[in-house]
């Protein structure tokens, strides 16, 4: 399914969240590259807002206090750690980022090395990354796009202070040389965070710190040294 004629009838169901996952993925993929359909989706969104506005009724006065009490209980139980992260001063974040970078180097992620070893070490990042604070993890599995049996994973840490991380691990047996990583955002725009180096065994690992919002990353694609599309991962919240 690639045409606007295929996608537009599905937009209301997409908006209402009632499409099957596979179909919804196809719609999202089309929307990334079609301003016309995105415009129609925005119009449908407005129409849905009109419909929703007809439902408005004055809620009982006591409901406000009840909701506020419940939220305060929620904040007391779960909100402390979230507030603590958002209250952390910027200089502490910079120091924490420096610690994480040094730890990354110590774990060998920066160096060209065996993706399998680096991937195992990724578990140890949790204690380091918890120092940074942020909004959580996102990630996805890299799946081969062509004949080369590539596999791997992407792990993104969403910081609330413009210091998000992205880690990429790839294994493509026999590949050697510099590949390229391409990030596609949910709005269809792309950017190239950099290259990824494959050693003679086909292992590669890369990472970068970015002020960009990793929450808007929809997909990461790795291109082989010859420019062909090697593998791709859909990035979702963990």
């Amino acid at each position: 399914m690639t045409t606007c004629d295929d996608v537009r009838p599905l937009l209301p169901d997409h908006l209402l969240g009632s499409l099957p996952d596979e179909e919804d993925d196809e719609v999202r993929g089309h929307l990334r590259g079609c301003a016309g359909c995105r415009h129609e989706l925005a119009q449908l969104d407005e129409g849905l807002g009109v419909f929703g506005s007809t439902l408005a009724r004055e809620a009982p006065a006591e409901l406000r206090g009840r909701v506020r009490e419940v939220l305060e209980e929620e904040w007391a139980e779960r909100g402390t750690s979230r507030r603590r992260r958002s209250d952390r001063p910027p200089w502490a974040m910079a120091i924490a980022a420096a610690i994480a970078i040094a730890a990354s180097a110590a774990f060998g992620v920066v160096q060209l090395g065996h993706a399998r070893t680096a991937q195992a070490n990724a578990d140890r990042y949790e204690s380091v990354l918890s120092v940074l604070g942020g909004e959580g993890f996102r990630g996805g599995q890299l799946r081969a796009l062509g004949d080369v049996p590539a596999e791997g994973s992407v792990l993104a840490y969403r910081s609330s202070h413009d210091q998000s991380f992205v880690l990429v691990f790839v294994r493509a047996p026999g590949l050697d040389g510099l590949g390229t990583m391409v990030v596609t955002r949910v709005d269809g725009t792309t950017w190239v965070p950099g290259q990824i180096a494959f050693d003679g065994d086909g292992d590669a690992a890369a990472w970068w710190v970015t002020p960009r919002d990793v929450g808007s990353i929809d997909r990461l694609t790795v291109r082989a040294p010859d420019g062909s599309a090697l593998a791709s991962a859909r990035i979702r919240d963990v």
Binding site: P9, P12, G47, V50, S53, A56, R66, R68, R82, G136
Partner: protein, 179 residues
């Protein structure tokens, strides 16, 4: 939303002011009772806070996100019990609890709601029915197609046409006011 995620009471109050009435009204229509509607408001705001950091403006309006979250919770509640058929006409009858007149700012919301109801009233009946089944009944296009005995493409077309028509009608209303 960022402030709300950071447990800001003022942000919570603002979100309540903007959305509680609509979620409550949605609950009255879908769940058929004041108590259930109040529960829906509470559950929606808790879920809203728990997911506040996931809201992505690039994916759509906050209003849509909030109401679809409430709708999803209402559908879950419906699936947990037997639901009598409810229509939007029944929700026009006020609940049997006295309501004090709202503050002046609510007059704006009430006016918008009245305009929207007028717009909906002009929709062809089949489009309105499809939209109500999809939005209030939580039905997919396939389910609407089965319920109404129409091709699935017709069901999709009716929902789409209804939404676009509502947007167009409200835009016309705004233009008339501007004259």
């Amino acid at each position: 939303m960022r402030s709300f995620a950071g447990c800001d009471p003022a942000a919570a109050d603002e979100l309540y002011r903007r959305f509680a009435g609509r979620v409550y009204g949605l609950g009255l229509v879908m769940l058929g009772g004041d108590a259930a509607a109040q529960d829906l408001v509470q559950d929606t705001f808790v879920k809203l806070w728990r997911n506040a950091e996931r809201y992505d403006r690039s994916r759509g309006k906050l209003e849509t996100w909030v109401l679809l979250m409430a709708r999803s919770l209402a559908i879950d509640a419906i699936r947990r019990r037997v639901l009598d058929a409810r229509t939007l006409e029944r929700a026009d009858h006020p609940p049997d609890v006295d309501r004090a007149p709202g503050p002046d700012e609510r007059a704006v919301t009430a006016d918008l709601a009245e305009r929207a109801r007028r717009a909906i009233a002009t929709l062809p009946p089949e489009q309105r029915a499809a939209l109500e089944l999809a939005y209030l009944g939580g039905k997919t296009s396939t389910e609407i197609s089965d319920l109404e005995g129409i091709p699935i493409g017709t069901a999709k077309t009716r929902i789409r046409a209804a939404l676009l028509r509502l947007r167009e009608l409200m835009s016309e209303e705004v233009e008339r006011d501007d004259v």
